[in-house]
Amino acid sequence: MKFIPDPVGKFFHRMASPPHFYALAGQMIPWLTGIFLVLLGYGLFAGLYLAPTDYQQGDSYRIIYIHVPSAWMSLFIYIVMALAGAIGLIWRIKLAEIMAISSASVGASFTFIALVTGSLWGKPMWGTWWVWDARLTSELILLFLYLGVMGLYNAIDDKRTASKAVAILALVGVVNIPIIHYSVEWWNTLHQGPTVTKMDKPSIHISMLIPLLTMAVAFKFYYLIAVLQRARLELLYRERTSAWVKKLVMEQSK
């Protein structure tokens, strides 16, 4: 009985082979960077210049174009990290383990950006840098989860064991994700409610929505670039005694 046809199986096997992945990631990064820079350029131009000033918040609202995409990425990357961790845990796929841990530092960065830009937006609008409400506190816990994942991984020398431990921590932390998302609806807060994800009728004007979505897509591409860079480093370290790394080093030092 064969559930997966041969060419498909071979394709995945080849994709997941470390030397192939290392080379492919290296080839993809320039293209991804090009797309990212174009999207970023347009997103910044449209968000900072083309989009009109908000009638209530003035120009301070323009922080939204990095704050909201970063916050979305912080949740998205966490889910990717937990999924990759689970795949690594169940099928013991080395690349899944590497993608999981490589996602952690990128996710932590976006969570940090979301918190800092939110604070810089909160000060002029709410009159305070920080409140201990549900949205801000659960996002701060997300940052600690990311840092916990990174710290735990670094604390265990055997990286296969470290990946198992990290995957379990990441999976337990998934409970925080719906809490962050629904926190503005479940609890009273200073933080404004969702404006974009109300699918029937987003309460944001199209001239502000387009740059916001452009930035969100740009950040997705940034994540791909950053995670592939991290993954290449991690892969090289884990495979440092293998034949393909030795060959690579020899070719480079010629």
Binding site: L48, Y49, T53, G58, D59, S60, R62, I63, I66, H67, S70, S105, V106, S109, F112, I113, V116, T117, L120, W121, K123, P124, Y222, I225, A226, Q229, R230, R232, L233, L236, Y237, R240, V245, K246, L248, V249, M250, Q252, S253
Partner: protein
């Protein structure tokens, strides 16, 4: 709109540009760090291999 009013951000220049500046720094750092670490790790491996030969 003049360049000066663009950078003034309606009086919110400090908040807006600090937010964008920190965002930019973190994102650039995140790309450069793994590249630097990978290149120095490759050099370290090359030195080890040369010693063994």
């Amino acid at each position: 709109m003049s360049i000066a009013t663009f950078f003034a951000m309606g009086g919110y220049a400090f908040y807006v540009w600090t937010a964008y500046g920190i965002c930019c720094l973190v994102l650039v750092f995140n790309i450069l760090m793994p590249i630097r670490q990978r290149l120095s790790f490759l050099q370290e491996l090359a030195r080890k291999q040369q010693r063994q030969q």
